[in-house]
Symmetry: C2
Subunit: 431 residues, 2 copies
């Protein structure tokens, strides 16, 4: 089946799926969890195949670890599905209700977006998480995972499609076949990006270059982030021990992720006291520091170049810059940052508020680590991605980011001519 | 000043404008209304210049009428500003609040999008409406109006910029200079579409071809609609007199607009009775009817070609198709429609609900005219445009469509390592 055909099938399924009731979606989710468990040997066998191929191709250890999908991982994704079942259905919520006139009522009602195209990295758990989030929110989905996980993804998509293709007992309603479609090659992704007649939103996850490629090669709206150049600003009136702790956690708790800090900004008022302290801890953790000229007049570190302020290291490297107060910090962040997550450490509420208001990022944090920027930690249940765009959804995107609304106007024969000619008047009464 | 420079200035202003308080924005709006009135002779003189040029260039009458900006129009836009002042500020609303742990609270707070680029048609009132909507919602704006209104737009933009450049008495805070920028040529628009570093959203209004051109030539998110191919479906169980009234109003109340109906779908069960009746009324109003084969077996009209189902006439022309029930109607609309506004006429609630759920359009109406699809009629105050995209905002876009949110996380020294290592647990308590 060609990609255009797959997208078309997904669109047809999406229309029907948008009207499927919550309990039907939840029972389909239960069925998915059931079948993932009962067919675990098939899944693990496919994953072994991927692992053997990966070893043969000398794939690096951390990637191998992410690729592995065993009984433990299956139990994890099933637990995720159980939590998802418990979450509110984001579809069918009345967001506003207005009486326009007697017998003419307007309702703004949440509904699925339609067809979502998701391109994700090598973890096979992502396939289960993304597809079940889409199902719960009533969206059809085209999925393309990492090629290293091809066999695992194939069986997972099949298990999920099979589990949702049966009618639940005693019901006439069912999950429409075709709501989940697997793409298998990079060429398929290129084809997918042209299907703006059928696909409503693309969510790319992966390397900066890859996300940028997607953004530059489609007319379909894209939700995601190319990079995470996050900052911590240590204000002149910060608690120094707290600042050290937050800087170190933001950098070192997990370096290879988008919400890790890449540049530490330090108020000149506190630099002489703070920099040697923070350097000692970073040295102990083998973090390479690169500093601006002022930084280097206080501690001995490599020089930071203009390029450093623009770089997402995703590694044990951190750039340091001394700034004159919160306004210079804000200016630096808005100029060099990627609008992902930025934090201030200060004891002064007014300074914090200025930072939170004027830093133009999805997440603006006060006295805590940038690493909290995450759907699970935010309590959103799960996330399909993190968005740094300025519309629709910003930051970690959970179920709520997968819905939009339609306007339902329920009348009893009203025509506009009566209002244009003044025979009738709008009441615009909130219901 | 180059366009890139203008966009950059707007971005700087947007950052500051995002934190300006409601009463400051409202007093700036009052000032704008004041100055529009007190400088009305300058404005009218500039408009006279545009009108003389337009007459010289033999511009058609309806366009001339829209171009005219006199004392009456000035009073209208000022009344609009007064209503806008009374609307709630959409910025700074707490959309959700969650305690992640003791002393670590997450707030989802609405904020402006940033810099909006708007390209609009020849009515100079649009410049005032759009820029004041942007100001109220804390957004900076780049404006490009119809070239016929160049002189009027220039003076209007100047009056608005002047009115907002002064400090209100006794205040330190002010509206940041540069929040409103006027573009003057088509080349400027092409330049603007490249400023994805500074512009967050483009809203194009105008002809189909123009909107499509914009959508295909920028990486900036675009909100709007290229066309309005709206449908009315007359169900087998419709009240026939009501159906005639609604069909006629949807087509004829104003033909040159996106929410006018272009195709009338008629259930085969009612076609023989309904078609002759509706034809009589349309004939009297000189509407050209084009019918499918089944339609032509009942009434004598021109044939409708495949192309007709895809056409937004914006004229006294209507295509007619006989379908077998609501499901065929839904399928036709989802296939040929533009996801703008579609209506069903039926007395049966179940049929109506099926239509409202499964028609994938921004507006789905039951027993009323498609012409109600409009920000003013919806009670939204005013609109910057109508969106047929599936994300962010759908249908008429008012103030609410001009804001997004940021996540503010307020801590007291928390780091992620404590939660990863199990020393602390998330509470995720709704506040």
């Amino acid at each position: 089946m060609g990609i255009s055909e797959k997208a078309k099938k997904a669109k047809s399924a999406a229309i029907l799926l948008s009207a499927v009731k919550t309990d039907m979606k939840n029972s389909a989710l239960s069925k998915i969890a059931e079948q993932l468990k009962s067919r675990s040997s098939e899944i693990i066998a496919a994953n072994q195949k991927d692992l053997r191929l990966a070893e043969k191709n000398k794939i690096v250890k951390p990637l191998l670890k992410r690729l592995k999908f065993d009984e433990g991982k299956i139990a994890d994704v099933c637990a995720g599905i159980e939590s998802l079942i418990k979450l509110d259905d984001p579809v069918g919520k009345t967001l506003s209700a207005t009486e326009l006139d007697m017998g003419l009522n307007l309702y703004k009602v949440s509904c699925p977006i339609g067809v979502i195209g998701v391109v994700f990295e090598s973890r096979p758990d992502a396939l289960v998480q993304i597809s079940t989030l889409c199902l719960k929110s009533g969206n059809a989905v085209l999925l393309k995972g990492g090629s290293e996980a091809a066999n695992t993804n194939k069986i997972l998509a099949k298990v999920i499609a099979d589990a949702t293709s049966e009618k639940a007992e005693g019901r006439s309603e069912k999950i429409p076949v075709g709501w989940i479609q697997l793409l298998e090659t990079r060429q398929h992704v290129a084809e997918m990006l042209k299907q703006d007649d059928y696909i409503d939103l693309v969510i790319p996850r992966g390397s900066n270059e890859f996300v940028r490629y997607i953004m530059n090669h489609t007319n379909i709206p894209v939700l995601g982030h190319a990079e995470g150049i996050c900052h911590v600003y240590v204000d002149g009136q910060a608690d120094i021990n707290m600042a050290v702790k937050i800087a170190v956690d933001s950098k070192c708790q997990y370096v290879a992720v988008c919400n890790a800090v890449e540049t530490l900004l330090v108020d000149s008022k506190i630099a002489k006291e703070f920099l040697p302290k923070v350097k000692a801890v970073f040295d102990a953790k083998n973090v390479e520091l690169r500093g601006c000229k002022k930084t280097r007049s206080i501690i001995k570190v490599k020089p930071a170049m203009e390029k450093d302020w623009w770089t997402e290291y995703l590694d044990y490297i951190l750039s340091l810059k001394v700034v004159d107060g919160v306004d210079e910090a804000i200016e630096h962040i808005n100029h060099y940052g990627s609008h992902h997550t930025d934090a201030i450490v200060t004891q002064v509420q007014e300074t914090a508020e200025r930072f939170l208001d004027l830093v133009d990022s999805a997440g603006v944090f006060w006295n805590c680590s940038t690493r909290f920027s995450d759907g699970y930690r935010y309590g959103l249940g799960a996330e399909v991605g993190i968005s740094t765009t300025k519309i629709h959804a910003r930051g970690p995107v959970g179920l709520e980011g997968l819905v939009i609304y339609k306007w339902k106007l329920l009348g009893s024969g009203q025509i506009v001519a009566d209002y244009a000619d003044g025979r009738r008047k709008f009441s615009h009464r909130v219901l």
